[in-house]
């Protein structure tokens, strides 16, 4: 039998396939175009502020960078604190719903947490100043009295509770449902065979989760956390309504002078801004853009290193 040179096996290209794949590409490109337009708009509007005499800016800083520095710091600091609070809690809740709670109530519990996601940021802002801030003020006083030697609680205590820690708590409450919802779905997708194999080997539930669930979901968890972080970085209304800001770089959690965030600062000052001040505010928006870009790139690197675990590799 001689081997006749058969043409390599090729799938027939169907028209519907072409239409579908093209439409997905178009959607992707549409996003790129929209983003390019936003970027061009941001950069074009920012340039005048970067070139302008800094004395024309609000508060007469020594340079644009001196103006944006505390804001960039505050943005990252507040979002970091929020993530620090929210991440472990979210993972805990997600595990509770997916692996601990009785199956019959799990869905209901998931819905309860989703309720938090249903609360718009204006409402969180109202709740933050009317309920949370007065509630935590005595606690902050106690912290400062007893742990004032610790740098994070140094200085005099805020009399109204409108500190960056309060903001971080509200932000954490806002991003908990985001991280929870996504990681819950991811945990639920863990192959049941992996879990049962672990349990059959005599693992406790914790060991099963460590061996089967977490490795499977790691990339997804990072993505969920990043999505939450993105929300925390860009949140406007809560920061504007709750925080007591000042143009400082400070790690203190319980004082009156807190670094503001970029988004919050834009919301506070945009209504009265005119001329070059508008450009300066948009330029800070560009900086926020850059910060998100850097943080997300780092996260992508982490995720990609773990790609082997995802289902569709």
């Amino acid at each position: 039998m001689t081997t006749t040179a058969t043409p390599p096996l090729r799938a027939k290209v169907r028209r519907a396939d072409r239409v579908f794949s093209t439409s997905t590409v178009v959607a992707g490109i549409l996003i790129l175009v929209a983003l390019a337009a936003v970027a061009v708009f941001l950069i074009a509007q920012s340039i005048p502020a970067l070139l302008a005499d800094p004395s024309e800016l609000k508060g007469s800083p020594s340079s644009f960078w001196a103006y944006v520095g505390p804001l960039a710091f505050g943005t990252v600091w507040a979002a970091f604190l929020a993530l620090l609070i929210a991440f472990p809690i979210s993972i805990g809740i997600a595990l509770f719903i997916s692996h601990y709670a009785p199956r019959r109530v799990a869905q209901g519990l998931g819905y309860v947490i989703d309720l938090l996601a249903a609360v718009p940021s204006v409402v969180f802002g109202l709740w933050g100043i009317k309920v949370l801030a007065p509630m935590v003020t005595p606690f902050y006083g106690w912290l400062v009295d007893n742990f004032g030697w610790f740098p994070l609680f140094a200085g005099s205590v805020s009399g109204t509770g409108k500190t960056i820690l309060t903001v971080a708590i509200v932000l954490a409450v806002m991003i908990i449902p985001i991280i929870t919802a996504l990681s819950r779905e991811i945990f639920l997708q863990t192959p049941v065979l992996h879990e049962e194999a672990a349990l059959a080997l005599g693992a406790t539930r914790l060991e099963m989760i460590q061996m089967a669930v977490l490795p499977f979901g790691r990339a997804g968890i990072v993505s969920a956390a990043m999505l939450g972080l993105g929300r925390a970085l860009g949140e406007t209304m809560v920061v504007a309504m709750v925080l007591s800001p000042a143009p400082v770089i400070s790690f203190v959690l319980t004082g009156s002078a807190n670094p503001s965030t970029i988004a919050g600062n834009i919301a506070l000052n945009f209504p009265e801004a005119h001329g070059i001040e508008i450009n300066a505010l948009i330029a800070t928006g560009l900086i926020l853009f850059a910060i998100t870009l850097v943080i997300n790139s780092v996260a992508r690197v982490i995720v990609n290193r773990r790609k082997a675990f995802s289902g569709a590799n």
């Binding site: 009317k130 009399g159 109204t160 309504m241 009156s256 000052n269």
Partner: protein, 363 residues
């Protein structure tokens, strides 16, 4: 099972569409066979200061009720945004916490107006700013400008400080630390308050008037509502806010000349009469250079917001509508409505006459 699910989705959809297709019960169907029905019609667009927001809502409601075919919209997006939009030609009139200054007026280019038309700036919204505080059992305190400046600059830090106690004999002041609350947003209220401190207490307050709080000392809160909330929820707090929002909080009587004066609409309107107009402006431009250290009994901590329009509009029908609306806002009825709805101080008769003359120029 599936059908019931689809059924419930459908039910929700139907409910939603019924809601969407229904009309607001308070709109439309206004009887127009009334004999006194006005013949005005058209739509006006304004925008700017959020401080004027509540007054504009009142004025618009009254004016639209009297003239059912008129539609007026006012975006309370902020003074800066209002001036920008007006300058760019995006609105028919603007509300702003400060008038267009010499430089901006000279630069001109108001795209909302006919070419080379001067603008009309009218101080039609006068609102006293109250210095509010929260101390149990104390309703009023007498303070001079230097003390107020010291409190807000962070040099006076306790309520039983001699500087306060000396002016308030017989009042039992606690040893509570003072938490001074200022606005965290860029605002006309802050600009007017710091202008007062700079003019009346130049030795203690060495900063220029600015819409952004110039120093680090103190707490910050967003908007009048935020300041009022912070002062109400804290203890030993003090802040400044539109007097209409002072509510049950304690208020400061300010030393003017040799008399302590609480805020009142009349005293607030008096300060505007006691101050000179900015020189070298067009006839319809009633910008005021506020004098915060008056000789007479006038309350010096006020916010004066301007309504800005054009002398000549491209479209004369539009000009007519603006004129009617401005006439209404300046009128005693309009001022009274704003005083009731928004807590502003009605303008004095003298200012009313000048404003009427300026409004006559609009066409």
């Amino acid at each position: 099972m599936r059908f019931t699910r689809f059924g419930s989705v459908a039910a929700v959809a139907i409910a939603a569409s019924v809601l969407l297709s229904s009309c607001a019960a308070n709109e439309g169907g206004t009887p127009t066979d009334d004999e006194s029905a006005s013949t005005l019609s058209g739509s006006l667009v304004g925008g700017g200061s959020s401080a004027v927001g509540a007054a504009q809502e009142t004025w618009i409601a009254e004016f639209q009720t009297a003239n059912p075919d008129v539609d007026i919209a006012y975006d309370p997006a902020g003074s800066g945004a209002g001036r920008e939009t007006f300058l760019a030609g995006g609105s028919d009139f603007a509300g702003t916490d400060r008038a267009f200054d010499d430089e901006e007026v000279a630069a001109g280019g108001f795209a909302s107006c006919a070419p080379d038309s001067p603008i009309v700036q009218l101080p039609l919204y006068i609102s006293p700013i109250a210095v509010i505080f929260n101390l149990e059992g104390i309703d009023t305190l007498d303070l001079d400008a230097e003390t107020i400046a010291g409190i807000f600059a962070g040099t006076i830090t306790s309520w039983d400080d001699p500087a306060i106690a000396d002016q308030n004999e017989g009042v039992e002041l606690p040893a509570t630390p003072i938490t001074a609350v200022h606005r965290s947003d860029d605002s006309g209220t802050t600009e007017n308050f710091t202008d007062y401190l700079a003019q009346a207490a130049p030795t203690t307050w060495t900063y220029e008037a600015d819409g952004v709080w110039p120093i680090e000392a103190g707490e910050a809160a967003q908007g009048t509502s935020g300041v009022v909330d912070a002062v109400t929820n804290g203890t030993g707090t003090i802040g400044y806010a539109d007097a209409s929002r002072a509510g049950d909080l304690g208020t400061v009587s300010v030393l003017v000349g040799d008399e302590y004066l609480p805020f009142s609409p009349e005293a607030a309107a008096a300060i505007v009469d006691a101050s000179p107009f900015v020189e070298g402006r067009a006839e319809g431009d009633l910008s005021i250079e506020l004098d915060r250290t008056p000789d007479e009994a006038a309350y010096p901590v006020v916010l004066v917001a301007y309504l800005v329009g054009c002398e000549t509009y491209e479209d004369s029908a539009q000009g007519e509508l603006v004129k009617e609306y401005f006439t209404y806002m300046a009128s005693p009825e309009g001022q009274e409505a704003a005083a009731e709805g928004a807590g502003s101080a009605p303008i004095s008769d003298a200012l009313f006459e000048k404003a009427s003359a300026a409004i006559e120029l609009i066409k």
